[in-house]
């Protein structure tokens, strides 16, 4: 049951290129969507037993031999698995129609599934080196996916992305090596225990700095963000949604905070550093987003800014902060996925993403305009949509922790956010219709369907957010909060 999150995507990915020869479209579409739908159901099914039993540790016997295939599924992991499966299912639904003009669907889906397998593995594994490995699985697939269009922009963006993240992950691995050298083990529990016995605050401090750089680059925290505004807009729309919605959160935010909470322990020092980084990201990226002309580039900068909020919430470590951070993670994953998919629709419909050229599309494509509005308002933090709650909780958590300066900055950044999302909405969808787009029609069925599903999720989670928070997010936040108590403090 738990292993299927890693094995099924890999298996399907292995078969797809072979089957792709037989059927170019139908079978890959059906197979991929079915696999992901199964994973979503799987994740939902796991909630009850998990809540009842706490962490699930699974070992597998291989032909009678005892081998070490250990996965640890706690509520935090399950929450991430659910987010990954849900958003990527919508993204593959969208791809059914969108990928028509790229061709080679089988390879595309296979890469996408390998990336999902990598993320799922990353989320499930309680071992430092394996975290690095699955990070690379997802990363290698994402390099290829960014360059999938093989145009000039795609190649340039993918190359820069690759070269920067290779350096970053080398530093993360170096840090893992040093920790391995000091404690002699790699699994979370053993390392945490070892570090507790050691009291090596300075070396651990440097190691954590390496982690912050390595995973911070994946999460696109300023100043490690430079690859993101190139890579995310250049990729095909579903991949942009995948990268912005999921990859930066799983291989960046999740990995960083899993290590921080379960291994090295969250200390006040770390909180300060991460709060500063998160806040800088929030503001710098929001300012940069305001100046963009390209729809997708604006969204990409907005991702950096929102990751800042998530990092701030999680870095606080208070129950409220964790709750807000995780909730915002989910909301941003869904809403940003929706917005990038919509940008794909807009590009599909009009052939351009330049905000100056667009305008007045709401009369022609009300569905795209409406869903886009939902996503934009959610991220901008407008009630009663989901994003409002998570942002409010984060800000309240900042105030509760007496971080008034950061709270103020977070508030001002949220006004900026509101501003540039209204800018998008106005320039692309409202206002007078550009003459060029007199003839445009609504996006094809599956593309619209995916957007509508995501928009409904945004609205439903916003309106009925209590049950959602209680089933998915509170347990995850509790896991992290317990992590704080268990793990050592390596510095005051």
């Amino acid at each position: 049951m738990v292993f299927s999150f890693i094995v099924i995507p890999l298996l399907v990915a292995a078969f797809l290129p072979l089957i792709g020869k037989l059927s170019k479209k139908l079978i890959p579409d059906v197979l991929t969507n079915a696999a992901l739908a199964y994973l979503v159901i799987n994740a939902v099914m796991l909630v009850k037993p998990l809540l009842a039993r706490g962490t699930i540790l699974r070992n597998i016997n291989w032909f009678g031999e005892q081998v070490n295939l250990t996965v640890a599924l706690d509520s935090f992991s399950l929450f991430m698995l659910f987010t990954i499966s849900l958003v990527s299912l919508c993204i593959t639904i969208f791809s059914v129609d969108y990928l028509e003009h790229y061709g080679h669907k089988a390879i595309f889906y296979a890469l996408l599934l390998v990336m999902i397998a990598g993320m799922n593995g990353l989320v499930l594994i309680p071992d430092l080196f394996s975290i690095y490995l699955f990070l690379e699985v997802a990363a290698v697939a994402s390099y290829a996916l960014v360059a999938f269009g093989l145009g000039y922009d795609e190649l340039e963006a993918s190359f820069k992305y690759l070269m920067l993240s290779v350096v970053a992950s080398a530093f993360a691995l170096l840090s893992i090596t040093i920790i391995f050298g000091m404690t002699g083990s790699l699994s979370f529990q053993a390392v945490a225990q070892g570090l507790q016995d050691l009291q090596a605050r300075y070396v651990v401090g440097v190691c954590v700095a390496f982690f912050i750089m390595g995973f911070g680059l994946k999460a696109a925290l300023v100043p490690f963000h430079a690859w993101l505004p190139d890579a995310h807009p250049s990729a095909p729309a579903p991949i942009s949604a995948m990268l912005s919605g999921l990859l930066i959160k799983v291989s960046g935010v999740y990995a960083l905070f899993r290590i921080v909470y379960s291994v090295v322990g969250l200390t006040p020092v770390l909180t300060q550093v991460l709060l500063a980084l998160g806040t800088i990201s929030m503001v710098v990226a929001a300012l940069l987003a305001l100046g963009q002309k390209d729809l997708k580039r604006m969204l990409a900068y907005s991702s950096i800014s929102q990751v800042g909020y998530i990092v701030v919430g999680l870095a606080l470590g208070t129950p409220l902060g964790l709750l807000g951070g995780l909730f915002h993670l989910f909301n941003h994953a869904v809403a940003k996925g929706l917005l990038f998919l919509n940008s794909g629709s807009v590009q599909h419909i009009t052939g351009t993403r330049n905000l100056e050229e667009l305008g007045g599309l709401d009369k022609k494509v009300p569905l795209t305009a409406g869903t886009n509005l939902v996503g934009a308002l959610s991220i901008a933090g407008v009630p009663p949509l989901a994003g409002f709650w998570s942002k409010l909780i984060i800000i309240m958590a900042l105030i509760q922790a007496k971080e008034f300066a950061y709270a103020l900055v977070a508030i001002l950044a949220s006004i900026l956010t509101l501003w540039y999302y209204l800018l998008i909405q106005r320039k692309a969808f409202f206002g007078p219709l550009n003459e060029k787009f007199k003839q445009v029609k609504e996006a094809p069925f599956w593309m619209s369907a995916a957007c509508v599903i995501l928009a409904l999720i945004v609205i439903l989670v916003g309106v009925f957010f209590t049950p959602f928070v209680k089933t998915w997010i509170s347990p995850a936040a509790d896991v992290l909060a317990r992590g704080i108590q268990h793990v050592l403090t390596w510095g005051i």
């Binding site: 080196f129 290829a144 000091m182 070892g194 009291q199």
Partner: protein, 164 residues
């Protein structure tokens, strides 16, 4: 011990050459030589399998890949590296050497480590029994790499239009 240090110095020198040599083929070859040295170091550290892998895969396969790429992208007007960069490299290198040495010296006794018991078993057992999940991940990485190459070298509609 002396041999080990000589090998390490060789590794660093050939790595340095790999970035300084003008001719890319020579650079790639000196990278291969550096890999060879690294493989030998692995042998002497008691990691023969890693050494073999380093020599066969990195010194062999990856060098071939590099050579192939260099051949495919050969052109008359090669990219000119800035001369100054190469001239001042030794300066920076020595500076870093000193800093590195000082840092390591100051760390010498400061970094605590848990006492480690010698591990039992064989390499195969460790790889298969302790790190089984790494094998799954390796499969994933290989998939990703193969599919990436497939995706990047596929024929696209645009290419065909251009050819015509």
């Amino acid at each position: 011990m002396v041999i080990q240090i000589i090998l390490l110095c060789g590794l660093v020198i050939f790595s340095g050459l790999a970035i300084l040599l003008r001719d890319l083929i020579k650079a790639a070859l000196s990278l291969a030589v550096a890999s060879l040295f690294l493989g030998l170091i692995f042998f002497r550290l008691g990691a023969p399998y890693a050494g073999v892998f380093e020599i066969s895969v990195v010194a062999g396969l990856i060098t071939v890949l590099f050579a192939l790429t260099i051949a495919l992208t050969k052109k008359e007007d090669e990219v000119q590296e800035n001369r100054l960069v190469k001239v001042i490299f030794p300066l920076f290198f020595i500076l870093f050497l000193v800093i590195d040495g000082l840092v390591m010296k100051s760390l010498l006794t400061k970094v605590p480590a848990l006492p480690s018991a010698p591990e039992g078993g064989s390499f195969g057992l460790v790889l298969w029994k302790q790190r089984t999940f790494d094998l799954v991940a390796q499969v994933g990485v290989i998939f990703a790499g193969v599919l990436a190459v497939l995706a990047l070298f596929r024929k696209t509609g645009k290419d065909e239009e251009k050819d015509e």
